[in-house]
């Protein structure tokens, strides 16, 4: 295969895997922000917590990687309900600034706590044998783990799409995102709906955090470092839109990967340039409501 095409395929493949991670981690943030307009800067901390739970489960308790991912998502999803009920609930009607401050405070506390218990050095996890090495797709080899990410991400997208578009609860969520007051007045319990989506979103973030260990490395600063990317995906995609989040994750994932392949020195410049360009033209993101 010619060199240029080879690089293009690598960029697309890695970009796609990265986009899946971004989508899984950000989708919950997008829906909760769309529902309540709540700026949750602690979302990255939930992802980080998920990652560390996976580390502990696999390394200390010797549980396999895949079951550990599931357990981590469930635990973080359950714990996030406590935060939502105890803290977030008080600030739904507060200003953006107060929400930003509260959640960034929580993120700082989480980073400090995990640094205390796990240390600042990045962790790794033992992968099952079938996720190691390369997989041959006929015309060239690809890293198995990334292929796995793409398959898993696609499956999750299908499930979420079905839940969002075809089930009763999905219809209620869409109604509440579109017009909260109207949804409440026809008898939808938006508060309970929010708790549910918050738990689901945090659980998915934890899954993303677990998947990120092998893709990006996991250290306590993960909570803030990647938070910016999650927020960008949400802002570019449009609040509360599944379609938008997916499109934004793809665009950001591929652009970031391309930037790092082609112009390593420029680092994250591409991502931010794309973000600014999109938001200047469409301030509410691809599929956001103006």
């Amino acid at each position: 295969m010619p060199h240029v095409a080879n690089i293009a395929v690598s960029i697309l493949f890695d970009g796609l895997a990265y986009a899946m991670f971004l989508f899984i981690t950000s989708v919950g943030l997008s829906v909760t922000m769309g529902l309540m307009g709540f700026v949750n800067l602690a979302h990255g901390a939930f992802a980080m917590a998920g990652g560390y739970i996976v580390v502990s489960l696999t390394r200390t308790l010797g549980i396999d990687f895949i079951p550990s991912l599931v357990i981590a998502s469930l635990v973080v999803g359950a714990v996030s309900v406590l935060f939502e009920r105890g803290l977030y609930r008080r600030l739904y009607k507060a200003t953006d600034l107060e929400q930003v401050l509260l959640t960034i405070g929580l993120a700082f506390m989480a980073i400090a706590t995990f640094t205390y218990f796990y240390g600042p050095i990045p962790k790794s996890v033992p992968l099952p044998a079938w996720l190691e090495g390369d997989v041959n797709l006929g015309f060239r080899n690809f890293p198995t783990y990334r292929a796995f990410l793409i398959v898993l991400g696609t499956a999750l997208i299908a499930v979420l799409w079905y839940a969002f578009e075809r089930t009763n609860i999905g219809a209620k969520i869409r109604a509440a995102v579109d017009n909260r007051r109207m949804a409440e007045s026809v008898g939808i319990n938006v508060d309970r709906l929010f708790t549910l989506t918050f738990a689901l979103g945090s659980g998915l973030a934890a899954l993303g955090g677990g998947l990120a260990i092998q893709l990006l490395g996991l250290s306590p600063s993960f909570a803030v470092l990647y938070l910016v990317l999650f927020l960008i995906v949400v802002a570019v995609g449009g609040l509360g839109s599944l379609k938008g989040t997916l499109l934004a994750a793809l665009v950001i994932g591929v652009f970031d990967t391309a930037g790092k392949y082609l112009l390593a020195d420029a680092g994250g410049f591409f991502v931010y340039a794309v973000t600014v360009a999109v938001l200047l033209v469409k301030p509410a993101g691809f599929y956001g409501r103006e």
């Binding site: 803290l87 600034l97 960034i104 929580l106 400090a112 802002a235 020195d265 410049f269 931010y272 600014v276």
Partner: protein, 336 residues
């Protein structure tokens, strides 16, 4: 309304504003503390200069966040522009005169503030947060891309500056610098205070409280916001320039999100929209950080997070707000 009537109303409004504008005795307090510090802890003046610089940085943020109500996550961009204007001028152009450097930094940061403000201030909420954040990071990445000029993340070390006013040279303990920063802060503060109590400042408060009504009464909202954003950017630029001059180095970390977040935390801890919140917040934050981060950086990070959560839940108006509430409580008790 008759002419006489209107004249009367105007007069009343004028006396009201003058009364509010009048300096109160208590306002001398932070300056007395700053001067007292010079004599009480003369060996900590390098640290003292850093505190005053952060006060100035927080003051510039108070103008846009506290008065105009613009929530930004990228205020470090202007601090960084100022820091690099002076740094690059000294390292690449051998322009090492400090005071003209401050003006250059103010102009450079002001220009960037004007351009980005004009472009970005039509957006609100999350979009504005992301755009301001992206601006700061893009400046940082640009610096990294041209590390042949900016020195990249290694920065521009070992800068030297000409003696102040051509006379006062710098001593090891940073005494000259402390007084230099304090004098600059006093000038900047006087300027900011004038702005805040002017009709322009009133219009900003109006925009913060109710944008729609300001539009409705025909106030040029966007122009006012861009103006104050430019001024705040210039002041942040001066703070950044002082940072480079006092430390004799500058690295790309000045553009960090941490720097934007830090100054916001300081201002919130002190109290927004009250000028002196910047003084209290920056001083308290810097002194706590100095003490606790030596003890354990992890512990400090946890503490600052906890402080933020508690501030949002129980003391939304900051330390000064707490004092005010306490004062009101006492006055209330006296009445009974």
């Amino acid at each position: 309304m008759t002419t006489a009537n209107r004249g009367q109303t105007r007069e009343r409004a004028a006396t009201f504003i003058l009364k509010r504008h009048r300096m109160r005795a208590a306002e001398a307090l932070p300056w007395l503390v700053a001067i007292a510090a010079f004599f009480i802890v003369p060996d900590r003046m390098t640290f003292g200069s850093q505190v005053l610089i952060m006060v100035m940085f927080a003051l510039s943020l108070d103008l846009i966040l506290g008065y105009a109500g613009i929530v930004t996550l990228g205020h470090a961009a202007f601090f960084g522009i100022g820091a690099y204007t002076v740094g690059l001028a000294a390292a690449r152009l051998q322009w090492t005169e400090p005071i003209s450097g401050l003006f250059a930094a103010a102009i450079a940061a002001g220009i960037v503030g004007f351009l980005t403000g004009w472009l970005l201030l039509r957006y609100r909420g999350l979009t504005l947060l992301m755009l301001t954040l992206a601006t700061a990071i893009m400046l940082q990445e640009t610096g990294n891309l041209r590390s042949d000029i900016s020195g990249g993340y290694d920065g521009l070390p070992g800068l030297t500056f000409k003696p102040l006013l051509g006379v006062f040279d710098y001593d090891l303990y940073g005494h000259t610098y402390y007084l230099y920063v304090l004098a600059t802060l006093a000038v900047v503060f006087y300027f900011v205070r004038r702005i805040v109590y002017s009709p322009f400042g009133q219009a900003l408060t109006g925009i913060r409280e109710n944008v729609r009504r300001m539009h409705a009464i025909g106030s040029p909202v966007h122009r006012r916001l861009v103006t104050v954003y430019t001024i705040a950017a210039a002041i942040a630029g001066v703070a950044g320039a002082l940072f480079t001059q006092t430390n004799a180095y500058v690295t790309l970390t000045v553009f960090d999100f941490d720097n934007s977040a830090k100054v916001m935390v300081m201002l919130i801890l002190g109290g927004t929209g009250r000028l002196y919140g910047a003084f209290v917040g920056a001083a308290v934050y810097m002194i706590l950080e100095d003490y606790f981060s030596k003890l354990s950086p992890t512990f400090w990070q946890f503490g600052i997070g906890l402080l933020l959560v508690l501030a949002v839940l129980f003391a939304r108006r900051g330390v000064l707000g707490l004092f005010e509430s306490f004062g009101e409580y006492l006055a209330e008790r006296k009445k009974r």
